[in-house]
Symmetry: C2
Subunit: 286 residues, 2 copies
């Protein structure tokens, strides 16, 4: 059996009881560690599970899945995924390959940022499609998120923006020389995301959102140190200190927002007067 086990969002105790039972008895345990991270180290997980874990990077999952799936027709293999196995990313290829090999599959779901973000006070029913934001480079500024946000905003919906993480990156020089030396991991902050969003609006000038649009920055959602900061995109460009360490996410408000959402999220506002003013001008109209 291939078990896809969600680990939840924060630390080693966020696994479900059922998931923990599977991890303890599986023949081999892999940890997918390139689309998200827990807030604790691998060693903490290993101590907690009482066993060793193989960290599966993107290359392993995408190019060497048969090693992960080896003998899973008769043995139990646990493939651990931060959040929910079908949360922000799916492992469709791995499951399709397991099916080809006649390996039975069972999923053990867990919390995902896509539902836990509801802790910011916005109703999940009022969210449109989720988008991703990557680190811009000088000559590479992918802005497909902008058209998606435009679609959501056109019908008054909120947008969850998931922020880039970079793990196991090589510098160009190390890559050219074939040196397996990796840069420290990087996690996009709400400030960087808000800044990139405003830059793209500045380029495109379609008026989909602007410096005065309301948004909520979220940090370490689902964890004991979860933190939300609400304000305008302009304010959120400088709110990283308030939010603290990674992981960060951002929600851009849609105009269909309800008064209860306003009241709930207002508690997180950097400046309640700015929040109230922006709200009364732009939101709750539908």
């Amino acid at each position: 059996m291939l078990y896809l086990v969600g680990l939840g969002l924060s630390d080693e105790t966020d696994i479900t009881v059922r998931g923990l039972e599977v991890v303890k008895k599986a023949s081999r345990v892999y940890l997918e560690a390139y689309t998200s991270i827990l807030l604790v180290d691998q060693s903490v997980l290993e101590a907690y599970y009482g066993r060793s874990i193989v960290v599966a990077d993107r290359e392993m999952v995408e190019s060497n899945s048969d090693e992960i799936l080896r003998d899973a027709q008769t043995e139990d293999v646990a493939f651990l995924v931060v959040g929910d196995p079908f949360g922000a990313t799916t492992h469709t290829d791995l499951v399709l390959r397991a099916r080809e090999l006649s390996i039975p599959i069972q999923t053990i779901p867990n919390a995902s940022i896509m539902s836990a973000i509801g802790g910011c006070g916005l109703q999940l029913y009022n969210f449109g499609q989720t988008v991703s934001m990557v680190f811009f480079l000088d000559n590479w500024r992918p802005a497909s998120f902008y058209d998606r946000i435009k679609e959501n905003r056109a019908i008054g919906l909120h947008t969850l923006v998931l922020l880039d993480i970079k793990v196991k990156e090589q510098s160009l020089e190390n890559m050219a020389r074939g040196r397996r030396i990796y840069e420290p991991p990087r996690y996009m902050t709400v400030g960087q995301c808000a800044q990139q969003m405003l830059e793209v609006e500045e380029d495109k000038k379609e008026g989909i959102y602007g410096p005065d649009s309301l948004a909520i920055g979220a940090a370490r959602v689902g964890g004991k140190t979860e933190k939300f900061v609400a304000g305008t995109l302009k304010q959120l460009c400088d709110a990283d200190d308030l939010l603290g360490p990674p992981l960060h996410s951002l929600v851009l408000l849609g105009s269909r927002a309800h008064e209860l959402e306003r009241d709930y999220a207002r508690d997180f506002a950097i400046d309640k007067d700015t929040w109230d003013k922006a709200w009364s001008e732009q939101y709750g109209k539908q």
Copy 2:
């Protein structure tokens, strides 16, 4: 402290380790039991937790929240919610009231249908807003879901449809006579949902979807007996036997669907030829 504890989707072992620790040590434990249900009885939960639970119905949560929150400034109160505390429904009022009473709040997230539905093979990034479907009555056929689906379909997105459950309902006669006698719980099936969707399209005739539109029926998502059945809405009207017992949900496909989604979900098709034909005519165009 008020703890909002997600229980996950299926049985007593779907609680997280952190959640279980909270339940075991809290002064009082409430179970919200009117927006969703687990697949196990309260007695199973009580035996597993080693303590008694107060079932909180809608009336208690909405009208008597101060009893739930009593002394939570100094004691720990656990409020258990099936799925994720911020999943399909929120408990905004309870949290706002707790804030008024200066009660600290902590959320322990868990799996939600809104991410676990990804197990059907459709990418969560391609979902628009989630809608709800209620049991129609002869003279009450609320169809606001139709306009929401229209918005999602206009931009090619999938729609998750959450299905009505009725617990602790009184017959009109018992209500009139003030008798606290309740009808057996009712859970909408995929077949009933698909039928009601087609009836509303028949009324409105906007061509938002039709009998040949593809959808996926889902049963007991996240549980050991999870089951997906894919087909046209017409086929799904008669697929309840294949799906088995509650809870059910339905996903209506959007045209932006990707080939990988087709391949993954095709495995669940009632009839693969019908699936392929409908797909090639209507999907994967964007």
